[in-house]
């Protein structure tokens, strides 16, 4: 079990309110990702749920029981920190055993759980090493191991992959996703990387300045962003958003089209512009187009390769059914 409900939760540091009243329900077994730019309050929100910070007003319920005033240890949640927070003077075995030892569990049961966790996380050969003797990915796994042996109601991840190199990050992303399918425990994952959010989440919570901008599945957010901010934040490369008379033609104060929803031609199209930088990835090519009269720069994504040179004139045609329209407040129009 691991249903977490936040009711009218606020958090202030002195006079500064970082989380305005906020309601959110995280269902049992769900993989929820909090995503948003730096300083949007996503880590603070996670720490409020963990109990590491006190809530200013409001309530937190875990499995229907009020947990607002419970100390962190009593909430039945396990957290994986950005720095892993392994205890450097203890072996991997002792690190993983620490929460069980604190819970005064029988030594035989502790041994069993450590063996299980080590097998799941491929740590069996490293149990007697110190954290300092492990690689980044292994440390990450020890931190996860320390969390899973407690069999918590929910896992909290605070940007756990941001200290790993790119290749390892992709691998660990997969491992965490697989762990979730196997354990079926509620997981809350904080990241500023929307790729991590899109690939791992059942439900994404997009935050800005403490406000929830949108809650939904990754594809919901991709296809029907509720407002301009979500539209610009989700998707890589970013959606091209433009205003002015061009946008009004399509029926909004502002309009947006994703780079992958623009057709390219060298001879004719709705818009034209000059080719700037072309990023060739092999599978895709991203072309930055200038002087289109829409925005400073329009990004276009082409599957495969295309030979264009800097300064070439290029014609763009948006796929009209993929166009997003926003009103003066930045909210989506139907």
């Amino acid at each position: 079990m691991g249903q977490i409900t936040l009711k009218q939760v606020t958090k202030s540091f002195g006079d500064v309110q970082v989380i305005p009243p906020l309601d959110l329900t995280i269902e049992d077994g769900e993989f929820t990702v909090f995503v948003g730019p730096s300083g949007c309050g996503k880590s603070t929100l996670l720490r409020l749920i963990a109990g590491l910070e006190d809530i200013t007003t409001g309530h937190i319920e875990i499995d229907g029981k009020d947990a607002t005033d419970l100390v962190p240890a009593k909430r039945g949640l396990a957290m994986v920190f950005q720095s892993y927070a392994l205890y450097p003077h203890m072996s991997v075995r002792k690190n993983i055993a620490f929460p069980l030892k604190m819970a005064k569990m029988a030594p035989a049961e502790i041994e069993k759980r450590i063996a299980n966790a080590a097998a799941v996380l491929n740590l069996t050969d490293y149990l007697d090493r110190r954290p300092g003797q492990l690689s980044g990915g292994q440390r990450q796994r020890v931190a996860i191991g320390r969390a899973i042996v407690r069999e918590p109601a929910a896992f909290l991840f605070d940007e756990p992959l941001s200290n790993l190199d790119a290749a390892l990050r992709v691998g660990m992303r997969l491992e965490i996703s697989e762990l979730h399918t196997r354990l079926k425990t509620t997981m809350i994952y904080v990241t500023h990387d929307q790729v991590e959010a899109m690939t791992m989440a059942d439900k994404i919570v997009v935050l800005r300045a403490g406000h929830i901008e949108q809650v939904g599945s990754p594809l919901e957010l991709y296809h029907r962003p509720r407002n301009e901010f979500v539209a610009g934040f989700i998707g890589s490369p970013k959606m091209n958003i433009f205003g002015g008379s061009e946008a009004q033609k399509y029926g909004g104060t502002k309009a947006g089209i994703r780079p992958e929803h623009i057709d390219v031609s060298m001879t004719e199209g709705t818009w034209n512009g000059k080719v700037g930088v072309a990023e060739h990835l092999g599978s895709d090519t991203f072309i930055h187009v200038h002087d289109t009269g829409l925005a400073d720069m329009v990004t276009v994504r082409i599957t495969g390769d295309i030979s264009v040179r800097h300064g070439d004139t290029i014609y763009l045609t948006p796929q009209l059914d993929q166009m997003h329209r926003f009103d003066a407040q930045g909210l989506r129009i139907a």
Binding site: A73, A85, M90, F98
Partner: protein, 288 residues
């Protein structure tokens, strides 16, 4: 410092300092060694020639030797226990965010800047004097008889004075160590269900172990040579005669330079044993 020329220039410029420091250390050391093998009684005939290991044997077999060793150990261990324990507590306290933190930290460090002689005199005359001392007033205020600290409880008094001087040093080193502790580790331990006391013993104390070793190492070397505090308070009476004070008495009060020098050589050997022993522990700690 890359080229040959700049390297030799550096050596040349460092030479005066190196020679001076080396001379400063070597001359007294060699003179001590020299005198320790001679019968040298300045007021009773001066330098009377070689005696072999006579001085060494006499120093150790004197009835004052073992009590002096014991007093030295009690002093060193007493001060170490007090400064390390209180130092850890103070460091934790000073690490908490509070109003006036900067001033409080400076005040805590202040005793370290007071000369040993001065602080011992202040303690002796302003606090521990049985007639005019603050403690005497305090005792009388509660209707008790003032304690004459430096004669009735001489050893604890000296330990108190020396601890007061060294507590800032321990606090300072331990405070910087505590500040380097990753706060996420403490939060992780909190999430793992460790209450404050267990967090202290499982996380903070192991993290401090290296700093504690360094405090013990440095303090031991200095505490073995404590002299001024004893000289201005008890003058070595009432069971406060440490090894270094005994050496002083042999040389200046008994006017026996040879005997005192032999004691000095013992002290050098003792200090080096402690230093090597503790350096190994530090080295071991640094490896982990």
């Amino acid at each position: 410092m890359a080229t040959k020329a700049s390297r030799s220039a550096a050596r040349l410029m460092m030479a005066p300092a190196v020679v001076l420091l080396l001379g400063w250390m070597l001359v007294p050391l060699i003179m001590t060694l020299w005198f320790s093998f001679r019968t040298y009684l300045p007021l009773r005939g001066g330098d009377l020639g070689w005696t072999g290991f006579d001085n060494y044997v006499r120093f150790v077999s004197s009835s004052a030797f073992w009590p002096a060793v014991q007093t030295t150990l009690v002093l060193v261990l007493g001060v170490l226990v007090i400064t390390v324990c209180l130092g850890i507590l103070l460091a934790i306290l000073l690490d908490q965010p509070m109003w006036g933190q900067g001033i409080v930290r400076i005040l805590v460090i202040a005793p370290f800047f007071v000369m040993p002689t001065v602080s011992a005199l202040v303690w002796k005359n302003m606090f521990m004097d049985p007639v005019n001392g603050l403690f005497a007033h305090l005792w009388r205020f509660f209707g008790a008889d003032p304690v004459s600290w430096l004669s009735d409880a001489a050893m604890p008094s000296i330990i108190l004075i020396v601890s007061w001087q060294w507590l800032p040093f321990a606090t300072l080193i331990l405070l910087t160590a505590i500040q380097s502790l990753d706060s996420e580790q403490l939060e992780a331990a909190e999430m793992d269900g460790a209450p404050a006391l267990k967090r202290f013993f499982y996380i903070i104390l192991p993290h401090l172990s290296r700093a504690i070793t360094i405090v013990i190492l440095i303090q031991t070397i200095f505490l073995l040579a404590v002299f001024a505090e004893i000289f201005v308070t008890t003058g070595g009476a009432f069971g406060t005669r440490t090894l270094s004070y005994l050496i002083f008495q042999r040389v200046l009060e008994s006017q026996n330079v040879g005997l005192g020098s032999a004691g000095g050589v013992y002290a050098i050997i003792l200090a080096n044993i402690v230093a090597i022993f503790l350096m190994r522990i530090v080295g071991k700690n640094l490896d982990n």
